[in-house]
Symmetry: C2
Subunit: 222 residues, 2 copies
């Protein structure tokens, strides 16, 4: 299935925070929940996305925006699930801001959608600095990356509503102290919801998708 690819342009807005607030308000008035998913390259965002769609697609109308420097490999995988999907190319840019996300939403078309999942550029630094207009933000950290990441990339851990620790099926193989990771994340962000799961085996995925479903319903009803 061919996926539409859009080359997005650098935003013209000077005040990204204000643009993000405006976008968030518009999405809220339309009952659309936007989830901004961030992680390092190779954490498994797309694999978790496929599990998430599988779990929620009967209950929610879902759309997906994939953002990458190049290629459409992720969007092609997601499109096979049957959900509306577009691929954005950032023209080398390392993050998305609210104006770029608005271009993505316009290309996707959000009428009738309950949930739009935005897979941000794989990067633990720059995406954390830009409000995309998302309703909630999730960060994915995979076990092979190590438990020291909150020490090195504190802003990302501070900004997110949910932290998903993934690839726990290989926890025995790597030197990964899950308690240390959780302590470090909570020290930066006491309100963060933490989920530990394996998108590969499906272990604990329902805890994450139940939370997301609840957040979407709260957003639509509040």
């Amino acid at each position: 299935m061919a996926v539409k690819i859009f080359e997005i342009k650098k935003s013209v807005y000077e005040n990204n925070d204000r643009e993000a607030e405006i976008l968030r308000g518009e999405l809220k008035s339309k009952g659309v929940f936007l989830l901004n998913v961030m992680s390092a390259p190779g954490s498994g965002k797309t694999t978790l996305l496929l599990r998430t769609i599988e779990a929620l697609k009967e209950q929610l109308n879902i759309g997906v925006i994939e953002a990458d420097i190049d290629s459409a490999v992720d969007a092609e995988k997601v499109a096979k699930t049957g959900v509306r999907t577009v691929q954005l190319h950032t023209g080398g840019m390392c993050h998305l801001d609210a104006g770029m996300v608005r271009q993505g939403l316009d290309n996707l078309g959000i009428d009738g959608l309950d949930l739009v999942i935005l897979e941000n550029v794989g990067n633990l630094v720059c995406p954390a600095e830009f409000d995309t207009g998302a309703s909630k933000q999730m960060m994915l950290l995979s076990v092979p990356e190590g438990d020291d990441k909150p020490l090195k990339y504190p802003l990302m851990f501070s900004e997110v509503d949910a932290l998903v620790v993934s690839k726990i099926d290989c926890q025995d193989y790597f030197d990964f102290d899950a308690d240390a990771l959780k302590d470090r994340a909570k020290k930066l962000n006491s309100a963060v919801e933490i989920f530990e799961l394996s998108a590969k085996t499906g272990q604990n995925v329902a805890q994450w998708t139940d939370w997301l479903h609840r957040e979407v319903m709260n957003w639509k009803e509040a």
Copy 2:
């Protein structure tokens, strides 16, 4: 062992490429080889660095510059090997340019060194865009990150002299097609030297360190 931490400032140079060329020339005249090591967060740069120091420290005088947004965990590990080490904090910046590297080299002190290893900020996007003045550039890609990374981050693969594929000890555990990865990397950069190794078990590490040693000697003698 306490490591000195330096908060580096944004560079004032308008033309980074020119500054990088000047720095490279100065290093060459002093017989100092600068290796720029780049990867995604959690690829295992520091673990490989420890193996590399272990292999080469009898033959070469080595110094290490660690660059991170925050923390000094990597520099503290490296300093235990006895090599001269400094930690740079980038003040939130997602990459290093030549002017920032110059600050790092000044803080480290390069007199008498043969090899300076620069561990860049963990990021597959921004560091590839800035010439640091390095003699050679190496990228580390770990098996859990997946074989599709050249498709998504082509600039990084295009810019490097050596690609080290690490964590091959867990290759059977992950869906990782090493041949596909190598084909994709070679398509972007036919001259790239590719090494496949495990810094954890030590497998094939000598192939990498032999290459690096040879490059350092060529640089000093040419």
